[in-house]
Amino acid sequence: MAGEPVIELRNIYKDYAATRALNDVCLTVDRGEVFGYIGANGAGKTTTIKILTGLIKPTAGDALICGKSILTSPLEVKGSIGYIPESGSLFDKLSPREYLTNIGRLYRLSDAAIKTKIPEWLEYFELADRIDQRMEVFSKGTKQKVVWIAALMHDPEVLIFDEPLSGLDVETIAHAKDLMKRYAAEGKTIFYSSHLIDVVEKVCTRLAVLHKGRLVGVGTVEEMRARNGSLSLEESLMKLWQDQA
């Protein structure tokens, strides 16, 4: 249902020793949105995502997913999200079958569901013939496909992606973009963090711009583009960052 807030960041602060990584970040993402989260390296994108996924705790503030706080109901929140981390790292001594079977168990999927879903998803990402190979011999892009499957196989309500297209080939990127659009049409919410502005421009409905831990702009792609009277989103964001600097 559009207009229903699914992700809420409430006055989030995060400090690492003397460094303030996030400074009073407030944000709401509605159901069915593909929400872009943009910022330069070190702006605080990954820190925000780590807080949303429960990997780290905010110094102050709270993050809510589907109305549940990550601080007070971490397990419920984690059960409703699918996450692709920036590193894309996985336990590559395992085969895709072993890795995904155990992921399914961690998300409490039934054995029957796991057995059905794994071949389906591997087929979708053209990995069916590599189901029992150790992933250490896979290329980065192939590993990334397995990370995608791990994020999607429990059919989460919210997808949190941190540079999800890293290492993927052109064809798979097209697949992934279609998949995101399809998920959004089904009413799922996608939080998409990247510094690749052209991809964000094509995929996202709305976006937020982060600069040195602060949100400096939130709006639709058109609004952001028009904001500085620029022709492209990239130019507009460059101006925005320069103004902040």
Binding site: L55, L75, K78, P85, F91, K93, N102, R105, L106, Y107
Partner: protein, 542 residues
């Protein structure tokens, strides 16, 4: 441009076949700083000091070794034993690099304009430094002890130390050469793995031997001394050549040994600096990077966990689905990963060895205690190993999945129990049933299991970490070693108390012992809860 025609910019390409000592220095510095600089513990944030840990752990092993002094008939035998153990430790301990660090090293070497001979020289120097630390920390206390046990002069001790360092370097250099050559025919990972097994066997076996010797010393036993200096087979090996170099007699045979020691050292230096081993070094690097494309086979322990989980009614209690997933991942990874696999293999071999000694040699005192001791060593190493992985950054999975600390603990405990504790517990139970009446044996066996559970919980409370989330550590820390000794002492005292109580108090003793075990079990449960709590609060710090 300068007057001599040069541009003033240093050439990037080194001269082929010539050692560039500036590059050597840079590489040595990189390796040593990466490996030995104090760092931060990934889970607890505590400061970790690799050198301090090495000094302590090797120093303690050296102190244990002194137990052998009284058991040796003469200084020469003691020195041969000391040199043998030190050389073995240096040879096998010089190689335990984790996959991450190996890849890092390979990337540094392959991608930079470093001549292979320069790379090898840097590797040799780094090794020499590492060997120096291991050899010094381990041997200083035993060497000093010879002043009292064998009336050695201080100059003799200094000379022995010098020969020990030279000998260790030579032997390590030769073994490195052998590895580089054999990389053509054998899997380097397996050679390294074997070296690690041997390293742990030498260090743990030496501890066992020292304990036996120390017991003989404590009981004032005489006559069962170690005599190595007269054995021709022993004197044919390099430790004897270096051990007797300065302290041996001036007869023909010892002089031949001296010449052999000089030749060996010279050969090692030539190999390090002159022989064209560099041609083979890229082979080694290539083989290190070669992928293994064989289809994955599910480890037996994982199949066992899955079978346990499928047992009607109790299956879900023994292995709940999430705990089963955690245990399966841990068991699969530790089963396929060289460092973990070998670290767990050695104590198991020693447990079996001492079980066999107890069974066939009729040793009723030391062997059962050593089975228990190595069982706990296996368990405590297991507790460390399930927290470590060469892909530790991939543990984001456990932090982002809807799994609570309790399930993580159960999964880790299941993996530890099956892989690291089941065999020693079984052998302890068999030993106890062979030695004591059934009821007492049952009590002691249950006590051992309960103690094992408490140890797992205690290690998780004191050093909480999400499974597979820490970088691999090739060696046991000093704290871990002290913990092992402490636990073994407590366990031995507990065992003695139960036997004493049942023997002297009969039924009352059985009741008291059962109550004690029940209390220990409760304590284990409490510790489990505390550990789950601590793990739930951990953040993903990668």
């Amino acid at each position: 441009m300068k007057s001599d025609g040069s541009t003033g910019v240093a050439s990037l390409a080194p001269r082929a076949g010539v050692i560039d000592w500036r590059q050597v220095r840079a590489l040595v510095e990189l390796h040593l700083k990466q490996g030995l600089r104090p760092g931060m513990h990934a889970a607890t944030g505590a400061r970790v000091h690799p050198i301090r840990q090495l000094v302590f752990s090797m120093g303690v092993l050296g102190l244990f070794f002194i137990g052998n002094a009284k058991a040796c008939v003469d200084l020469q035998s003691f020195l041969i034993l000391l040199f043998s153990v030190t050389f073995a430790m240096a040879v096998f301990g010089a190689m335990p690099e984790t996959l991450d660090s190996r890849r890092r090293n390979v990337e540094v070497l392959v991608s930079k304009p470093v001549d292979s001979r320069t790379a090898l020289a840097a590797r040799t120097l780094t090794l020499f430094y590492s060997i120096g630390i291991i050899a010094t920390c381990f041997s200083v206390a035993p060497l000093i002890s010879t002043h009292w046990f064998f009336s050695s002069s201080w100059s003799q001790i200094g000379g022995a130390y010098l020969m020990l360092a030279l000998g260790a370097f030579s032997v390590v250099m030769l073994s490195l050469t052998a590895i580089i050559y054999s990389a053509r025919w054998f899997n380097v990972d397996k050679i390294r793995g074997l070296a690690q097994v041997l390293f742990i066997i030498v260090s743990l076996g030496m501890t066992g031997l020292s304990l036996v010797s120390a017991r003989g010393l404590a009981l004032q036993r005489r006559g069962s001394s170690i005599s190595l200096s007269s054995s021709m087979a022993v004197r044919f090996a390099p430790p004897a050549w270096f051990a007797g170099f300065l302290s041996g007699p001036l007869d023909l045979y010892t002089n031949i040994e001296r010449i052999a020691a000089i030749l060996l050292t010279g050969l090692a230096i030539i190999m390090a600096l002159r022989l064209d081993l560099g041609k083979r070094y890229p082979d080694l690097v290539e083989r290190l990077l070669a992928p293994d494309e064989k289809p994955a086979r599910v480890p037996a322990s994982v199949l066992l966990v899955e079978r346990l989980g499928r047992i009607p009614v109790i299956g879900e209690l023994i292995a709940p689905r999430q705990a089963m997933a955690v245990a399966s991942m841990v068991l699969t990874l530790t089963g396929r990963e060289v460092v973990s696999r070998l670290s767990s293999l050695t104590p198991r071999l020693l447990v079996i060895a001492f079980f066999a000694i107890g069974l066939f040699a009729g040793d009723q005192t030391i062997s059962p205690l050593l089975i228990g001791f190595y069982g706990y060593i296996n368990l405590i190493s297991g507790c460390d190993l399930v927290k470590q992985s060469p892909r530790s950054e991939a543990s984001w999975l456990f932090s982002s999945a809807p799994v609570d600390g309790g399930q993580l603990i159960r999964g880790a405990r299941l993996a530890i129990g099956l892989k690291y504790f089941a065999l020693p517990a079984l052998l302890v139970a068999v030993t106890m049933f062979l030695r004591h009446p059934p009821l007492l044996a049952l009590l002691v066996s249950i006590g051992y299991l309960v103690m094992g559970r408490c140890i797992v919980a205690l290690t998780l409370v004191t050093k909480p970490a999400v499974p597979l989330s820490l970088e691999q550590q090739p060696a046991q820390t000093f704290l871990g070693f002290t913990f092992m000794i402490g636990i073994s002492l407590v366990s031995t005292i507990g065992y003695a108390l139960v036997v004493f109580a049942v023997d002297k108090l009969g039924s009352l003793g059985i009741g008291l012992s059962a109550a004690g075990i029940a209390f220990l079990s409760l304590a284990g449960y409490g510790l489990d809860r505390a550990a789950a709590n601590r793990i739930s609060r951990l953040e993903y710090t990668r």
